[in-house]
């Protein structure tokens, strides 16, 4: 039984970026993953087991999108090696499904011709037939199949239509598999590629009428979106709306969550339990975790924007608009997507740098990605801004708090561009980098299902973090802040006698020039593991300190305890500080060296110290001390 299952034939999905390969994979396997329009977003190998109508078990492998087996990036190397059966850990595919976008067939046909040379059976699955039909692209499947010399099946992956037909075709093809041949493929040279494209064009002319039409909707939209000036204004407007939305739209839900945790805390405080346990439940557990979970709405909104833009096909346009500007800072246009993802979280951002072919370009992007304002900074920014920045309007309609938030994002971006500029000029000393060559896919209406899956996955990941890393940090902080207990008849607040105070005071000489008191130092220590923990930690420390309930807003307490200069210095620190253990771990993994992890950690630490120092001293000199 097990043997039979293990020998399930392997079916590899190969196709150009944006061909709807991942959507087809989802429809086939029901797997939960995202569908995107940006070339090369499928960076990880995905497999799924499927049972065909004839009862045959199949292992479907979704491979990174590519234009050719001639690999140029780590992603494309995976595709090549998997197709050729060179991956030691994987079985060679028994059948290759060349997935193609019916409305954009030309480059796919050349890839299909290349796949035919691998020496394994190939089948073509035509995706997005509905879109092609709507645009008047007339495909004769029989002619296409005859001219290509492989079976061709039509499917509409995103609507789950045509999947049955593909399943039947897989069954039919697998029932008469030839004995596995040895892969005979060599990287084509220019003349082979040229001949193949000419042959593909011949097939295209024979089988398809009306193939070259530019999608009228895309053409019209791009007149605006890619306009040299208008396009940049639209891009800035989108980013601005995104950040205002994160601040304004999330507020009602955040209030609701906050009230809910307050209620829970009150309930816990009334339980008939020993004082120390009630304190743990209310000040450690509920207020600690609650103060982090309250930011879930903001994170959901941010990811919704990023996924929406990705699925819409806007991300490649943004890269186009930003290429020259990023190039000025020594970054590749393709770095825009990883850096934009880093606004949500640096970890997926750093992983997305795999689409950058050149090693140095990639390293530079990895080094600066953590400077992008990730969602874990939002809790800290929000807390301090709402406590210290008045909620007034500038020019009558722009919220001052949102404006300060925007400024913090801008500081991160400026920092990243400066660091990459310096790295490029003084360390790499290169001028001409990798060329910027990118397909601009037609705009597609995002699929609600794929958006929902994407946002849910992120939200769950955040909640899981809140439940594990963050929760354990909160418990540690509560222990540090509660023990040892104050002696009998103590006159100072209880926390003054705790371990936390000892640690915080020990490093005070280093942080005093930054305006940080020992309470901030205590919050920064667990913040090294995860940035957002600092919020809960401050809550715990000050709630204990003030001897008040957790329902007291942390912000109000802070506003009474810190000077404006200290608050600003802490914001500046947070823009640059390397406070995320997971990010450092990912850098170590993606660069394959401890060295780059250390470089990232220390340059960010130095920047953070310098920025906080300058901010505090300047603010104090200006009378905000």
């Amino acid at each position: 039984m097990n043997v039979a299952v293990d020998l399930a034939p392997v079916v590899a999905l190969v196709g150009n970026p944006n061909c709807g390969k991942t959507a087809l994979f989802n429809a086939l396997t029901g797997s939960r993953q995202k569908v995107a329009n940006y070339p090369g977003v499928t960076v990880e190998k995905k497999t799924g087991r499927v049972v065909t109508p004839a009862g045959r078990s199949l292992d479907i492998v979704d491979l990174p999108g590519t234009y050719s087996l001639r690999a140029r990036s780590p992603d494309e190397e995976i595709t090549r090696d998997a197709v050729l059966g060179k991956l030691v850990t994987e079985r060679a595919p028994d059948l290759i499904v060349c997935v193609a976008d019916a409305s954009n067939l030309r480059l796919a046909l050349r890839l299909a011709l290349e796949l035919k040379q691998v020496g394994r059976p190939v089948l073509m699955s035509l995706n997005m037939m509905d879109i092609a039909k709507k645009r008047g692209i007339d495909i004769d499947l029989d002619v296409l199949s005859r001219e290509l010399g492989i079976p061709v099946v039509a499917s509409i992956a995103v609507r789950r239509g045509g999947i049955d037909r593909l399943m039947q075709a897989l069954d039919e093809r697998l029932s008469r598999l030839p004995p596995a041949g040895t892969a005979d493929w060599r990287a084509p040279d220019a003349s082979a590629l040229r001949n193949a494209q000419h042959e593909a064009d011949r097939v295209l002319r024979a089988a398809i009428r009306n193939a070259g039409q530019l999608d009228p909707g895309t053409a019209k939209a791009d007149k605006l979106v890619l306009h040299p000036v208008g396009g940049l204004i639209i891009l800035l407007a989108i980013l601005f709306v995104m950040f205002q939305a994160v601040f304004a739209w999330a507020q009602p839900v955040m209030n609701l969550i906050s009230d809910g945790f307050t209620w829970l805390g009150v309930q816990a405080a009334a339980l008939p339990l020993p004082e120390i346990i009630r304190s743990f439940l209310k000040d450690g557990l509920i207020s600690g975790v609650g103060s982090v979970i309250v930011f879930l709405p903001q994170i959901v909104i941010l990811f919704l924007f990023i996924l929406l833009l990705e699925d819409l096909g806007y991300m490649a346009r943004a890269a186009f608009l930003m290429d020259r500007i990023m190039g000025g800072a020594g970054l590749h246009g393709r770095a825009f997507i990883p850096l934009l993802s880093s606004f949500a979280c640096a970890i997926p951002g750093i992983m997305a740098t795999r689409v950058i072919d050149d090693r140095r370009d990639r390293l530079t992007t990895i080094l600066v990605a953590p400077l992008m304002t990730c969602s874990a900074r939002i809790p800290v920014y929000t807390l301090i801004i709402s406590a210290f920045v008045p909620d007034t309007k500038v020019w009558g309609f722009i919220g001052l708090q949102g404006l300060v938030m925007f400024g913090l994002y801008a500081a991160g971006i400026t920092g990243a561009l400066t660091v990459s500029f310096v790295a490029k000029r003084f360390f790499w000393r290169t001028t001409a980098g990798e060329p910027f060559m990118l397909e601009l896919p037609d705009y597609k209406i995002p699929q609600l299902r794929s958006l929902a899956i994407g946002v849910t996955t992120r939200a769950l990941a955040f909640l899981k973090r809140a439940g594990t890393t963050i929760l354990s940090m909160m418990i540690l902080i509560w222990v540090l802040a509660s023990f040892p207990q104050p002696p009998e008849g103590a006159t100072e607040p209880a926390i003054d006698y705790s371990l936390a105070a000892k640690i915080g005071r020990a490093i005070e000489p280093v942080t005093t020039p930054l305006g940080f008191n020992w309470q901030i130092n205590v919050a920064l220590i667990p913040g090294m593991a995860a940035r957002e923990v600092a919020v809960g930690a401050l809550g715990t420390i000050y709630a204990v300190d003030a001897g008040e309930g957790a329902e007291e807003k942390i912000g109000k307490v802070l506003a009474g305890q810190w000077s404006l200069a200290t608050a600003l210095a802490l914001l500046a620190w947070y823009v640059f500080a390397p406070q995320c253990a997971s990010t450092l771990a990912v850098i170590r993994r993606e660069t394959g060296s401890w060295r780059w992890m250390a470089v990232t950690f220390f340059y960010m630490l130095a920047l953070a110290y310098a920025a906080a120092f300058a901010t505090f001293q300047i603010a104090r000199a200006a009378g905000a001390g």
Partner: protein, 94 residues
């Protein structure tokens, strides 16, 4: 009325329509890749002799990068690499 003249795609203006007559790597000395690799990448994105091209859009700074319709696909690239694509202009022919 048809006038035929060739130029590098990297020198073309927005609205240019024509056909690719040759790929000539010697015309793109500033490209970020060695000549054989650049040629293969251009070919893989569909820049092949005979293909119809139209320059659709360009960036703000120095008109760079450019978005080019190549047969049925839209490709974004920089002008310094597009210098290697030799195109013939076909005026006034719808």
């Amino acid at each position: 009325m048809t006038t035929i003249s060739t130029l590098a795609l990297g020198d073309a203006r927005v609205g240019f329509r024509g056909r690719i007559t040759a790929l000539d790597m010697t015309r793109a000395p500033a490209a970020g890749l060695p000549a054989p690799e650049l040629e293969r990448r251009l070919l893989e994105l569909g820049f092949v002799e005979g293909a119809a091209v139209e320059l659709l859009h360009q960036g703000l700074f120095g008109g760079d990068p450019i978005a080019v319709r190549v047969a049925a696909t839209t490709i974004a690239l920089r002008r310094r690499e597009a210098m290697a694509v030799v195109v013939s202009q076909q005026d006034l022919q719808p």
